[in-house]
């Protein structure tokens, strides 16, 4: 069996984002997704700090300290892009104007509950940023993560044990092993890594899986 690389997962996510979409890309693994968005599609990236139409990193020497993304790294603005304040930025999310967001996660439950802001450890510094606003607001919430933790535990679970970011908000999960839809009927496997069987995938997943009946994709 050959797992999907991080770039392959990112490319797979990018393939599912259609022409004309407004998209927010989260920190961590998802930051790779823009590298794979097809150049022939007009897709506008939103950054929570007030940018729509965010472009790639600037050429060396052309960084602008007032043009940074949510990770506080330098970006550029596409021709036709816009700036706005935090109220408008989060109205775009909460108000259902944003078509997609792609976030990392600690855990996703079989009903699409998302946990990605806090491990709950007593000495951990909690930080939430815009994750809870995106979880309730974006029309499609996609999660991109490793299928299991470093110690081999499934990050897809029946019920999250980490503190929740949002309830029943995740639509699709992209991991190094599979692409899985969260549906009314439970978790449905859309795609698997080469050489992986549903039985083996199920062994590494702590919630029941079924093969997608071709309704998704």
């Amino acid at each position: 069996m050959r797992k999907f690389s991080h770039d392959e997962i990112a490319a797979r996510v990018a393939r599912d984002i259609p022409e004309g979409s407004y998209v927010n890309i989260g920190i961590g693994l998802p930051t790779r997704v823009p590298n794979f968005l097809p150049p022939d599609r007009e897709i506008l990236l939103q950054s929570e700090n007030g940018i729509l139409g965010m472009g790639p990193a600037p050429a060396p020497g052309e960084e602008d300290s007032d043009l940074i993304n949510a990770s506080k790294t330098h970006v550029t603005l596409l021709t036709g892009g816009a700036f706005f304040h935090h109220g408008d930025s989060f109205a775009m999310m909460r108000g259902g104007h944003l078509d997609y967001c792609v976030m990392g996660a600690f855990q996703v439950s079989e009903s699409g509950d998302l946990a990605n802001w806090h491990t709950g450890a007593p000495d951990a510094i909690p930080a939430v940023g815009g994750a809870m606003d995106l979880a309730v607001g974006a029309r499609h919430v996609y999660v991109m993560m490793e299928h299991t933790t470093k110690t081999g535990e499934s990050k897809i679970v029946k019920k999250c044990t980490y503190p929740l970011t949002g309830l029943a908000c995740v639509d699709r999960i992209y991991t190094d092993l599979a692409v899985i839809d969260v549906t009314r009927h439970g978790l449905e496997v859309v795609e698997m890594a080469e050489g992986l069987t549903l039985e083996e995938l199920q062994r590494q997943t702590a919630a029941p899986l079924t093969l997608s009946g071709g309704r998704n994709g």
């Binding site: 706005f84 935090h86 109220g87 989060f90 909460r94 606003d133 607001g137 949002g166």
Partner: protein, 220 residues
């Protein structure tokens, strides 16, 4: 004649009092009123409540204010940063109170304060730890949490250009929380790169109308 210009950052923050709630604009270094924060450090008021997206970086600016023990309480959405060790130490030692607020709720609660609303129902945070103990309501099948406004005594904000009436325009993504904070505080103090004559800012492009701003300080 209305002239909101103040000669220096020090003069602009001179009347900040002990126990004040202060909104500080910016997201990372972008839109952060660094000269006003430095003046606040020198000014000496204590027992402060700060509202800012993060909890300070390194040992300058907000982190310096924290290190001096001048801040009792901080509201932010993302205090965890690689170089926020001053905050981390105070938090773990129980020497600072943290109210963690989802970023959109922070903006919304300040907008509510500026707009004179008593509270707002927001879907963000419903069913999570951050909504525990708060009133909720189902409206048209969607769940909402009741959140109260964040009022403040002062707002320290940064803009690109301003005039003597307090009209402001910003630069790129440095706008972020600044216009919202201007409206939410009793006394908004704007640090601007340049003060221009009235009329030089195209009225169609004014982002913060002067009514929301009490003081304007030019820093070069």
């Amino acid at each position: 004649m209305i002239d909101k210009q103040v000669a220096s950052p020090e003069a602009a923050v001179a009347d900040v009092f002990d126990g004040a709630t202060i909104l500080i604009g910016g997201f990372g270094w972008s839109g952060m009123p660094t000269r006003l924060v430095d003046a606040l450090i020198a000014q000496g008021s204590k027992d402060l409540t700060l509202v800012h997206n993060n909890a300070g970086n390194g040992e300058t600016g907000i982190a310096a204010l924290l290190k001096l023990g001048r801040v009792r309480r901080i509201l932010c959405s993302y205090p965890r940063q690689p170089d926020s060790y001053v905050f981390d130490g105070l938090y773990r030692a129980g020497k600072i109170e943290l109210e963690l607020v989802p970023q959109g709720n922070m903006a919304l609660r300040m907008q509510a304060a500026g707009a004179g609303l008593g509270a707002v129902y927001t879907p963000t945070g419903y069913g999570t730890q951050l909504a525990e103990g708060k009133e909720t309501r189902e409206i048209d099948g969607r769940h909402y949490v009741l959140e109260y406004p964040i009022h403040a005594d002062f707002a320290l904000i940064k803009a690109e250009r301003g005039d003597r009436w307090g009209n402001l325009v910003y630069r790129k993504a440095a706008r972020n929380f600044n216009p919202i904070m201007a409206a939410a505080a009793k006394c908004a103090i704007a640090e601007v790169r340049s003060v221009v004559p009235l009329g030089e800012i195209d009225p169609e492009t004014v982002v913060t109308p002067g009514i929301f701003v009490k003081r304007v300080v030019e820093v070069r």
